[in-house]
């Protein structure tokens, strides 16, 4: 039975008393609990709570300050994205995938388009410039995701400065994204067959201009937190999970690398030409929250190295196509800034409209109905900012997926929550959660 907190009553079904914080003073509840001498208290945390990464519900069983049992409630952000994909074309799937893990949008698109291309059997036909652009965008997305992870973790521990500094650096990346894709987030830039459009004039110059200040900013950020005694007090030895635990729970990403295992799909199963880049896999050997942040912080600087190599490669390559040659697959668009801000390039419209009737019909069919993907299924995994991000696509030969399923690292990593929290204090629950860095948009989809 549910009662108001002022008049709690014993409940046979609940095997205890339920206190409902429906207004008034928390002290009244605490006093009442103390008066009843109840040792075991179950506390509900979330789903609306500033310290959770999104709408996550945690049910904590407490013995004093110590957490004895943690249960995780997910699904508050279930958006039905996988189901919606079955009713949209293969190209539109990119716009839906980007809204899953919205902190590293472009990486979701990357996994999705690579899986679709694998199923269509065109993986080796993707132009080189598109490959480089994909790597560039995915690495920038990784940096921006790690910045949000570190910044919001700092904010949750009471250090708002960490968040403002992290977001300052992230803004540079978002400005570049906006130049290239037209959107700050939810870009839908990577498309099956290539990328939506080539870099606009001046975008690469902008990136080169902000590059030194970003490297400096990331170093500042690292200096500020990694040797910070308060940060260390809150994270060293907190939320430990060793390699065996990570393996048993299927945990990937910075969490497993913090146990010393250099598990990184960019090295182990390269995609989009990652084998041509020079970078290190960052690891730590502490297996705690501190190690996870150390891995993320070092990884950002490794990603900056990859970004520099991408800039060099793009400049060396010069102008080149960014969409697959195959006219049955290639998205027939050439965007340019028109009088209304954006639109099709006039010469491209002329080519479609004043060519043959068949050309116009082909364009119309490809845009409205979409291309077809041969029946079958494919699975492709990439190294997402959060861990191994796998996409399983099934086609029945139509213009829409029969089924799309994502193996979301946030979701799998969140399984570790009870292992990380049990036996710790309630103040470390927030640290444990932040060190997993789950994004609920990805967890619930």
């Amino acid at each position: 039975m549910t009662t108001g907190y002022l008049a709690p009553q014993p409940d046979a079904e609940l095997d205890g008393t339920e206190y409902v914080a429906g207004g008034g003073d928390w002290k009244d509840i605490a006093d009442e609990v103390a008066r009843r001498k109840e040792e075991r208290v179950v506390v509900n945390m979330g789903p609306q709570h500033p310290s959770t990464h999104g709408v996550l519900r945690l049910v904590l069983e407490m013995d004093g300050e110590t957490v004895t049992e943690t249960r995780v409630g997910v699904g508050f952000l279930h958006t039905g994205i996988e189901k919606t994909m079955e009713y949209r074309t293969w190209v539109q799937g990119s716009a839906l995938a980007t809204r899953m893990d919205y902190v590293a949008s472009i990486m979701n698109e990357g996994a999705y388009v690579l899986a679709v291309e694998k199923l269509a059997g065109v993986t080796d036909q993707i132009p080189e410039r598109a490959q480089i652009l994909r790597v560039l965008m995915m690495e920038l997305a990784r940096i921006s995701s790690h910045l949000v992870a570190l910044g919001s973790a700092g904010n949750e521990l009471g250090g708002t400065t960490l968040m403002t500094i992290a977001f300052r650096e992230r803004e540079q990346i978002l400005r570049f994204f906006e130049m290239v894709t037209g959107q700050r987030m939810n870009n839908a830039y990577l498309r099956p067959g290539g990328v939506a459009q080539d870099l606009p004039d001046g975008a690469l110059d902008f990136l080169k201009r902000v590059y030194p200040s970003m490297v400096r900013g990331l170093n500042d950020f690292d200096n500020m937190i990694m040797a910070n005694p308060i940060w260390k007090l809150r994270t060293v030895g907190i939320a430990e999970l060793n390699l065996a635990g990570c393996m048993a729970l299927g945990i990937t990403g910075p969490m497993v690398r913090a146990t010393g295992l250099p598990l990184d799909l960019r090295k182990d199963a390269p995609y989009s030409g990652y084998e041509n880049y020079d970078f290190e896999v960052c690891t730590a050997d502490t297996a705690d929250a501190y190690g996870r942040y150390l891995v993320r912080s070092n990884e950002m600087r490794e990603s900056m190295k990859i970004v520099a190599q991408c800039i060099d490669k793009l400049e060396a390559l010069g102008p080149a196509p960014v969409m697959i040659e195959d006219p049955a697959l290639a998205w027939p668009a050439k965007l340019s800034v028109g009088p209304d801000g954006q639109g099709q390039a006039p010469e491209h419209v002329k080519e479609i409209m004043s060519g043959s009737m068949e050309s116009l019909i082909h364009h119309f069919k490809l845009v409205t109905e979409g291309f077809r993907v041969p029946p079958g299924q494919a699975f492709h995994a990439i190294e997402h900012a959060k861990g191994m991000y796998g996409v399983h696509v099934v086609s029945d030969g139509g213009t829409r997926p029969y089924r799309v399923h994502m193996r979301e690292p946030s979701y799998n990593n969140l399984q570790a929550m009870s292992v990380l929290c049990d036996g710790g204090t309630i103040s470390d629950v927030v640290v444990a959660l932040a060190s997993i860095d789950p994004v609920m948009g990805g967890v619930d989809r």
């Binding site: 952000l77 039905g80 919205y102 948009g441 619930d444």
Partner: protein, 188 residues
Amino acid sequence: MAIKDGLEGAAPQGVVLTTVSRVVQHLRAGSTWPVTMGLACCSIEMMASGTGRFDLARFGMEVFRASPRQADLMLINGRMSHKMAPVVRQVYDQMSDPKWVISMGACASSGGIFNNYAVVQGVDHVVPIDIYLPGCPPRPEMLIHAILELDEQIKREPLGKDRAKVAREVEAAALAAVPTSEMKGLLV
């Protein structure tokens, strides 16, 4: 009027009341503290609007409150699932009057691109909305503009009994309105 003498006695009827309401409206508009109701993508842009480049603090509204009791503006940002809807309503109910709501982003305003079984097609099914802010997600500048626009509305809002009267009138008008499903024929 209880005070009949002095300056107020000399002033024409109604001046004092108008001035008080203006003062209250000004104070209300200048201190809108939002409650964090971050649901999805838009909440990241909400966080961004509080940081350096956009700096919501310039307008005195960076104090994001974790407790609905201390907030008077609810920013609903992101897609709201059916599972989350009762929670949003509960947080809204826990806020003390007067309170305002901004629906940030396409999903909160109309369901956005997620026209499916999981997402509530607009949070106005659950709570009354004062400002609909389009975008997927809206830029931080757009969020700041929406809050400033709301402040302008707050400055024009009547006080006390009038506020309740206006709310009742709005509700009656909404109940009497023709539902979209009944709108037939050409759009005029």
